[in-house]
Symmetry: none
């Protein structure tokens, strides 16, 4: 496996004023080639790049550096690479011509500071940048002897980096011969089962699958199981996971739970209505994040008060009084009422105590009742999710969407 | 200056399937303390953490590690830290008790795999995690001799990391003595005015205020202006900002726009209803993120179809036919209808084209009409926010909440 590292330069990334989207984007692009990043490092603008590059080139076969190719004084990636690789910088005629044309085309004056952007490492390729002033640079392995590592210097702005990466970097990575087609990645998403249950019941079995690498990524209310290896190894791992937890498996293509639900509704030709109290619109909000939701989602009721439960979806005042707003009875009436008023095929309801206040001994903060209604009838559930207010909302919306998924 | 590094563990970060939000978030939090991150490294789950930690602890005064504290086999941050720092791991009684209570409270079984989460480094502090099973660990400098570096091991999930960072890490960083004395920090939040307008009209003036350091943090639909300096310098900067953009200023205490709106509603003793089409429940969802929202928010209508606009809040079929669902006329009828049906004091409505499909020449993707209704009447607006689907929803919810704020 080709060892690849990414170095992102930019003080703003470390201050947190800009998000590092490059690392994420390049990681995704490399996975498509069957390649993986083994380390990503962010350093500030300035001299820190030199140390980081020296370390990375010793450790890896390919180093991808972004940023620090601009005209200002803190843009010193070229100079740092020259030092680390032990070669000179010299003006590149084609790069200078491209730079001059860039400014002429935009009728802007080229200043002296831009001249250094036409400098190239001796023995390296200039990678044309059609969207900015900084061309990229590719220094092949063994340039100047050790380190035996290929180095790409790439512009920082995404609209310059992304096309340049696809046009100039990808073909060179392929030419380097390390593109392994046999290694695949598959991510299986599970809802309603925790990481420790996987660990307890599946981990040891997965470890026995030859050539399979396993990873977990747990989020609130869901778990991604990542399988890496040959197609055969992945199929073996997947079979084990499905045998044990198939009922909880939501998708194998990285879709969100709301995408899976919207997709299933569309495939079944059915529509959904929601009746939300404690989640306050989060379920509707998640479903409508999916493009095309209007075909499957028509009515959302956010009945945050007793009056709106009664007035909008016909919950009975008797039930509210006798069982309380947070009860399976009321959840059931909410779901049935939402189904009736909307004319949808499926309706899901939630009513609970998000906290931090409002809990009682009988119904502590985190108590929730859910209802799911179809033409076949209504089912209700009572659960406890003692979490922060926003985590509670997210967890309950997760449960509600999963109930819809299972009802289809 | 205290040298600080961050190490984020997680194969999903390098594969690009998850964005690294921790680095960004911690960078921002450290800036507030007058501290700067000098390097950030991402490594996959597994053994790579050991090398990275060994390098970082040699280079820095403080290393913050996130992730790898879970129960599964690829969670080995504790073990790696023990090796690098040259100390043993042993079961921590308090951590084990907290872990047991965590599962008891949720009525879930604790499995053997969880036991390793109660392991602590000898001589280190256990940092309680109130939102998950993995406590953090703080190994003070000189633990086991070299390296002379403080190491924090922190849980990966943001909902666990963020509160733990603020409660446990910040006080220890302050105690380490490297925190620069900052007279004061004030963050002013503005909605409806962009960063370039600030830079154009205010930046030069702020630069003239003696001893004032200025920072901006732009988010979608809002801008935080950070003023750092003496109380006098901050007052001077604030005066300039208010003279120019006072009408757009939402708060000076870091509250979210929805918190400001909920607060203002409560102070005015008024209630709110929402009628949402294109935002699909996001406005209601944001308002109900605020604890105590039930006192000011009663009815939310997610009228995603024409039928629900007519059936639930009395939009006329004539208007839908004549002007279309995305029109100021329909937005006005939605707001008026929501006010009438709910009996609330203020109602806000949105109807628009979130895209990516559904646009026309006359009403391109990004078109939105908003309405705000009170007893004094209805006002409507038509705007264009050509953005991705989710950014569009967020931007429109921002505008709607700001209309409510201005109506109070």
């Amino acid at each position: 496996m080709m060892r690849i590292e990414i170095i992102n330069t930019g003080t703003e990334l470390l201050l947190g004023s800009t998000r590092n989207t490059h690392g994420t984007w390049m990681g995704q692009e490399l996975v498509k080639l069957g390649l993986r990043v083994q380390r990503q490092t962010t350093v500030p603008d300035g001299v820190a790049i030199e140390d980081a590059l020296a370390e990375s080139t010793k450790r890896s076969d390919v180093v991808l550096v972004t940023g620090g190719l601009g005209p200002t004084s803190d843009d010193i990636t070229r100079e740092a690479a020259a030092k680390v690789l032990g070669v000179e910088l010299m003006e590149d005629e084609a790069a200078l011509r491209a730079l001059t044309e860039f400014f002429e085309k935009r009728k802007k004056p080229m200043v002296d500071a831009n001249l250094k952007q036409a400098q190239n490492l001796v023995g390296a390729d200039v990678l044309p940048n059609h969207n900015g002033t900084a061309p990229g640079i590719y220094a092949p392995p063994r340039l100047g002897g050790e380190p035996n590592c290929a180095v790409f210097l790439l512009p920082g702005p995404p609209r310059e980096l992304y096309p340049l990466f696809n046009e100039e970097v990808v073909p060179r990575l392929k030419a380097l011969g390390g593109v392994e087609v046999i290694d695949s990645v598959q991510e299986l998403k599970f809802v309603g089962v925790g990481e420790s249950e996987f660990q307890d019941r599946l981990d040891a079995k997965l470890a026995e699958v030859d050539g399979l690498e396993v990873g977990y990524c747990a989020r609130l209310g869901e778990l991604d199981l990542r399988l890496i290896g040959s197609d055969e190894a992945i199929a073996g791992g997947r079979k084990l996971a499905e045998e044990m937890f198939g009922d909880f498996m939501v998708c194998d293509d990285g879709a969100s739970l709301e995408e899976v639900v919207a997709r299933s509704l569309a495939e079944a030709g059915k529509t959904l209505a929601t009746a939300e109290s404690c989640t306050g619109g989060m379920i509707a909000n998640r479903i409508t994040d999916v493009s095309g939701a209007s075909a499957v989602f028509t009515h959302g009721f956010v009945t945050y008060s007793n009056a709106s439960k009664v007035g909008l979806i016909g919950v009975s005042e008797e039930s509210l009084e006798k069982f309380g707003a947070v009860s399976e009875e009321v959840a059931g009436e909410m779901a049935a009422g939402a189904l009736r008023v909307s004319g949808a095929d499926v309706a899901v309801s939630v009513t609970g105590i998000a906290g931090p206040t409002g809990g009682t001994e009988d119904k502590p903060v985190g108590t929730v009742c859910l209802g799911i209604a179809t033409k076949d009838g209504v089912q209700t559930y009572r659960e406890l999710h003692p979490r922060s207010r926003q985590d509670f909302k997210l967890q309950v919306s997760q449960r509600a969407l999963d109930l819809v998924r299972r009802a289809l």
